[in-house]
């Protein structure tokens, strides 16, 4: 079963603009992670945010977590063509020892 639901399913923006993707989940979590998948490739870990954290930054990435709303957002600032990929949130549920991935947001950056 998949816990996270990403929104939107697809996003197309111009290079240089900011991209925001959202993830909602259903149960209590220990942490939430974001991964990127380029076409035909495996997933690459981007960032992990713990359940007691509200915001985290890594380069051009900013992740927020609202455990009361069971939601997270990933912001990519100053987007580049190389950011074109699918982005997945994955939750580490309390009581489980595995990650559960959402269905992903397909991001296209137009030059």
């Amino acid at each position: 079963s998949q816990q996270g639901e990403e929104d939107p399913q697809a996003l197309s923006i111009q290079e240089g603009e900011n991209a925001t993707m959202n993830c909602s989940y259903k149960t209590s979590i220990n942490n939430l992670q974001w991964y990127r998948q380029n076409s035909g490739r495996g997933l690459v870990h981007l960032i992990l945010i713990r359940s007691n954290e509200r915001e985290k930054h890594s380069g051009r990435l900013r992740v927020t977590l609202d455990t009361s709303k069971k939601s997270s957002s990933l912001l990519i600032t100053a987007s580049r063509a190389a950011d074109t990929a699918s982005y997945f949130c994955a939750t580490d549920e309390v009581g489980a020892q595995k990650l559960v991935f959402g269905q992903g947001t397909r991001l296209t950056i137009n030059p």
């Binding site: 998949q2 996270g4 220990n30 942490n31 035909g40 490739r41 495996g42 997933l43 690459v44 870990h45 992990l48 997945f88 994955a90 580490d92 020892q97 595995k98 990650l99 559960v100 991935f101 959402g102 269905q103 992903g104």
Partner: protein, 115 residues
């Protein structure tokens, strides 16, 4: 540092045939994962090993899927017999430990098409 290796990269078979995938994790990584990713969906965990013991195989269709990790290093995933709905990308990942803070490193995947 070498990444997670998988082979083959692509496989086409007919339904009811058998197929096997191989994964070599990053050296020293204790935990190995097999995921199934159907087109347009996120990866779904099939089985998780720590060293050569199974941690979680609750979503593995055990009537047709099997996996082993002999000697706690590389692993094989087998499907016998394959069904049309098994068409997917099979991803292998590894992590240093089993802790929830451990980053999972993914291989490039094997794309399986069942005709």
């Amino acid at each position: 540092e070498a990444g997670v290796a998988q082979s083959p990269r692509y496989k086409i078979i007919e339904k009811r045939q058998s197929v096997a995938f191989w994964c070599n994790p990053i050296s020293g990584h204790a935990t190995l994962y097999w995921y199934q990713q159907i087109l347009g969906q996120g990866p779904k965990l099939l089985i998780q090993f720590q060293n050569n013991g199974v941690v979680d195989d609750s979503q593995l269709p055990k009537d047709r899927f099997s996996a082993e990790r002999l000697k706690g290093v590389d692993s094989t995933l087998k499907i016998q017999p394959a069904k049309l709905e098994d068409s997917a990308v099979y991803l292998c990942a590894s992590s240093l430990g089993l802790g929830r803070w451990d980053t999972q490193y993914f291989g490039p995947g094997t794309r399986l098409t069942v005709l």
